[in-house]
Every structure is written in C-alpha cells, then in structure tokens.
Symmetry: C2
Amino acid sequence: MNSDASRRRDVTVADVARAAQVSKAQAARALGNYGAVSDDVRERVLAAAEELDYRPNELARSMNTGKSHTIGVVVGDIENPHFGLATRGITDTAKRSGFNVILINTDEDTAAEIDAVRVLLDKRVDGLIVAPASSVETHHLRRVHESGRPLVLLDRKAPGLDVHTVAVDMEGISHDSTTYLINSGHRRIAFISTLRTDGPYRDGMPLDSSQISDRRDGMKRAFVEADLELPDDLIRLNAGDAESIKKITRELLQRPDPATAIIASDGLIGLSVVEAIQELDLSIPQDVSFLMYDDFAWTRLTTPPLTVIAQPVYDMGVAAAEALIRQIEGRKMPAADPEFMAELIRRGSVAAPKAIDVDH
Amino acid sequence: MNSDASRRRDVTVADVARAAQVSKAQAARALGNYGAVSDDVRERVLAAAEELDYRPNELARSMNTGKSHTIGVVVGDIENPHFGLATRGITDTAKRSGFNVILINTDEDTAAEIDAVRVLLDKRVDGLIVAPASSVETHHLRRVHESGRPLVLLDRKAPGLDVHTVAVDMEGISHDSTTYLINSGHRRIAFISTLRTDGPYRDGMPLDSSQISDRRDGMKRAFVEADLELPDDLIRLNAGDAESIKKITRELLQRPDPATAIIASDGLIGLSVVEAIQELDLSIPQDVSFLMYDDFAWTRLTTPPLTVIAQPVYDMGVAAAEALIRQIEGRKMPAADPEFMAELIRRGSVAAPKAIDVDH
DNA sequence: CCTAGGATTGAGACCGGACTCACATCGATT
DNA sequence: AATCGATGTGAGTCCGGTCTCAATCCTAGG
C-alpha cells in the first residue's frame, strides 16, 4: 500500500494506539486480550490494528512472559526416516498445542549436541526433546534438567538421569528376535551398528548407547538361555558410511566361519547390508538370513520382503511431545515412563541356515 | 550448586556487572565484544561471567539487533524422505553460517502454510524457505516478499512472484523420460500424483502445482513430438493415502485398455504403486513398466531395481539455504535462478510393453 | 444528592541486552 | 605546558511488548 521503498518498520502497539487515539496500555490490553477494556476502545483498537496490519512481535512478548511457545528438538539425523517420522509426531503434537519446533541435527556427535542444547537454551525454548547421542556423556543434559527447564529424552535412555524418557524396551525385543533366530537354527548371528567406539567389540565392553547396549544384553540373554555363547566376533560397531557397512558385511559373510544371520541396527544400515549381500550374489534367506530394526514401507517391496522389528516411532514422537508440553504447562507427570513395545514382524528374510551345524 | 529449589532466575549482564564491579555498559561491552574495554575490565567481567555461568538471552539480543539468526522452513511433509534430505541440506548449511532452523509442516495444505508463514514472521525469523503447497495461492508469499523479508522458494515455482527459486527443470526431465517410455514402445502411460483438484483430470486443466503442471507439459510435448496424443484418462490426481493410490493403480491396470507404464510422482506414491502391482501378481517390467520421481536408496533393492528420476535434493536444500543467507546478509544475488537438473537413472523397471500395439 | 466500589484508563516500570552520548583519562604532539 | 585524538567509562535510552499502580469515571445503593 504505502511506500515501502524505504526501510520497513514494523507496526507496534504504540502505532495502533496512536491510530485508535488511546493510550499504549489500552491498546496493548485490547490486543493482548487481558485486563479491562471498554467495548468502544476495543473496537477502535482492533479496527486500527486491522487497518495497519499489526502483528505482535513474539520476541518482545516472549521476553517478558518468559514463554517462547517453542520447543527445541535435537536429533541425530533427520535424514534418517526413523527420526523423520518421530519428528513428524513431535511437530504434529506441538502444533496442536500451539508450540513451534526448532530442529537441530547433531550427526550423532556429542560435541554438536552440547552445542545444540546450549543454543536452544540461549533462545529460551520452553523445553527440550533430545535423542542423546550418548547415554554416558550426559552432563549437559543433567544441567538442563537441574536448571529446571523441561526435558524429555527420546529413543535412548540416560542412566542416572531422572528425566522422562520415551523409548522402547530394547532388551526385550532384542532377546525375542534373537531367540527367534536361534530357534530357526542360527548360531552365528551378527549384529551391525554405527555406534562409534574406540576399538572392536569385546565381551562386556561398556557401550555408549543405551539402545545398543540393551540390544546386546538382549542378544546375550537369548544365547545364555539357549545354553550357547554370544559370538563376540560378530558384533560389529563403527559401521559409519555405506561403504564401511558393505565392507563389514562382506567380511562377515566371507570368513571361514561366516555369519548365517545378520541383524542391522537400523534401516539405513539395513539398506547397505542388503545391497552388499546382493552384490555378493548371495540370496536372502537361502544363503543368509536378515533382520533389521525399523519397519520402513520399502521393506515390503524387496524380494523377499524383509523381516523387521517395528517400532512405534510416530507414536513415540507424539508421546515425547505430549510429556514435554505437560511438563511445560506444569501439569503432573505420570509416575513411570510408559514403555513402548517393538514388534517382530516376520516376513520372508529369515529361514534356517543352509547347513545346520548340529549344536554349534 | 546453589538453591534452585525456588524459581530460577537467569543471570543477566547486570548480575555480571555487579560481580565484576563495573557498570552494566562495560560488562555488556566486554561480553558482547564490541566497543572499547580495557583489558582489566574485560578480564574481570569474563571471569565473573564464567563464575556465574552467564548465558546471553538471545531473545533480548534479537530484539534490538533485529536479527534472530533463525530461518524458517516450511515444507509439506518432513516424513517424506524427499523433504527429509532437503531439510538436512538446509540445516547443515544454516548451521555452518550460524543460523538455526525453525521447521513447520503444512501437510501440503495452503491454509496451514499461510498460518506457518505468519507464525514465523511473528517470531521475526531472518528469512524463509518455503516449498509452497500451491503455485497459485501465493498471496501470503507475495506479502512476505513485499515486506522485504528474504524468501526463497524450494521445489516449486510461483509464477508471477519474483522470488529466488530453487527447483529442477521438471518440464525437461518429464519430456525426456516420457520420450524414453514412448521409444520403448509405450503408448498408454499413466501418471499418478497426490495433487488435490476439484475433479478428475481434463486436458488443459490448470494445475495448482508448478511441479505437476510442468511434468504434464513435458509429457504432453513428448507425445506431441511423437505424433501421438497424451492419454488424458491416465493422468490421475488426488492420490491421497496409500489405499487410494493402490485403488487407482488397480484401476489403471485392470481396465480394458490398461496402462502399460506408470509414472509415480514421488517416492511415497511409488511405494504404494509397486505394492499394488505386486498384490495383483503382475510383474515389473514384464506386465507393466514403472518409473518414479525420487531416487531413494531402497529403489536399488527391489526386484527389479527401479528406474527413477533422481533429483539433487540435498544440494537443492543447500542452495536454497545459501541463497537465503546471502540475501539476509545483504549480499548480491546471482541474476538468474540456477536450474537444477534431474537425471533419469535406468535400472530395471522399464521394458517394452507385453504386446506391442503397433502405432497406438 | 452523596458516596462506595467496580470498571476504565494512562503513565511508567520492566524484561535483558545493544547502543548513543557526554564525560573522563592519558600519552603524544608542538 | 597547552592541546589533541584515542581510548575508557557510566548514565541512560531504546527495542516492543506485559503488567503494576494510582487516578478517573460511572452507576447503584443509602
């Protein structure tokens, strides 16, 4: 309308007040819908606001209410559909309650995570949802919690940190699916994860991620219950990029005592593992059985369709957001963290190993 | 450390100044690293800040600098890996330049988009990246642009809106891939998209999305160049959820004059189409050829691997963020929008139709 | 007709930094 | 020794809202 050739200045309450011929305080009350305002004034102010196309400055508002109506979300990698779905659950829920979401990626790097948390805190978000890269280095999270700012953990637990956590019972599902493989005749069961560690896996090694640690424990329990021993040499960590995953896969399958089944720690890893298997001209499940965490839609399209461990990712996102918002709004928290259940979906990628090695 | 049993009050410059025995102005200068400050004062202030664990309030800072170091990103659906990847490109780039990202989902709904833009503007983001749900209803975007706030469009163009746009040349790739299908002997080529319209597709119908519209134009040109006519009855829009996509697929393949090739408008649609084809016990490419937009990793794992149209999604996210930040920082924009190129990746899902219908 | 008490209203403080301005300080110049 | 420009420094304003507080207006009860 008017000359916006020059530098644009936002319309403020003061402008509206002037136009409506009332004091700034009255205009603010009418606009902010608080305090006592006569119908006459309210009308004039609202009309003036409309006319001037007034939009409140949320920053200013946040500054003296102390509420930003924004929650910070820190995840390892949104590119990973697992987090994509969870994020969707979070944003949907947040929007429904009038909250916005600031998203930060950490690339599963704790230093980046510490930084992300700091930035979010500086921006005075009302609360945080973090999928911690490490279940051990949680000092920064502890500080958030101690400062009194609402915090909810997603996907991974942080032992010793008394914070509401939304995660699935990994030990249980890992035990069940390992048992399923053992019952199918497998003894050489491999597990591949991106988890970064200093050296190769050794029995009893402390693992930085509760998720991986719990899965290891579940596997171990399954083996122990079957009077077998968990083959430590088949637990492979540090599977960074696609190439290293393929390399690990080849190695697992071409050794003298090859793995007869492979469990991929997530969908991204699974992708590369399956690709490597195809490249070796081996077939699933005849030559090697395959199982992976995350039930992505495409797992139904491969030949054979893949047996997977489905996690209610979207619902977990929703639950995390709901729990956080409940905390922000000062409502009571349920006493215990509700445990989400993963489910083994048996499709076609698991079968008995080619030559059943009687006993072990 | 100290009693945070009571309500937590943030440490401010004033607190630091008091502790360092200097004026608030001096403390602010030392902390903000501007103006002239003696070494002595700086040291004392920094020490006091450290001691008190001072953290600047970014809200307050933003309020009088006018810069929030935050960019708003509005996409249709992060759950869709296409946007997941693009978002990753954006956030990576933003972080590198010290910007944060507020993400809002619109579910491809223009009303939600209008709202999202308003919210972000109210939060005084420094700029916006929007993947507009509609290339027609762009009034809200025009207002953003006119208000002088930096804006970059992603993926879809908005004709008549002179805004930097990062998108691929859809008409071209659509033409090329359609020609490829025609040359393979196909005449009955179907195209399935989620685009919502009032009724079924009719020739010359205006399409709300530049992306879809351009693809239609490309197909049409390919047909015209081959002296053929684009089969309007095979352009299917309004493919909302998985179930409706499957229904459309079945219908396309079970009619008297079935489609011999199907092009899916994106990876999510492709998933359901392939599933429906498998459920009909038809095989690709013997019974029907298949082509889809978006080159997701899993397309290499299906049998056969899928022929796809790869788009440099991550790079586009990076480009969008770079362009936006350049605008924010007041640097010159390159004169023209760089056009990104999609690429037809021929894998195994396209072959000659079963019975070549000589001519048409 | 007078007055108590609730409804309105305006002035101004405040949130937490950034920044302007006037006033020192001080070594260097002439 | 007087002058000058380059720092240093503190008081105070501003950003754009929210909110307190005291003053004013009205209206009904006595």
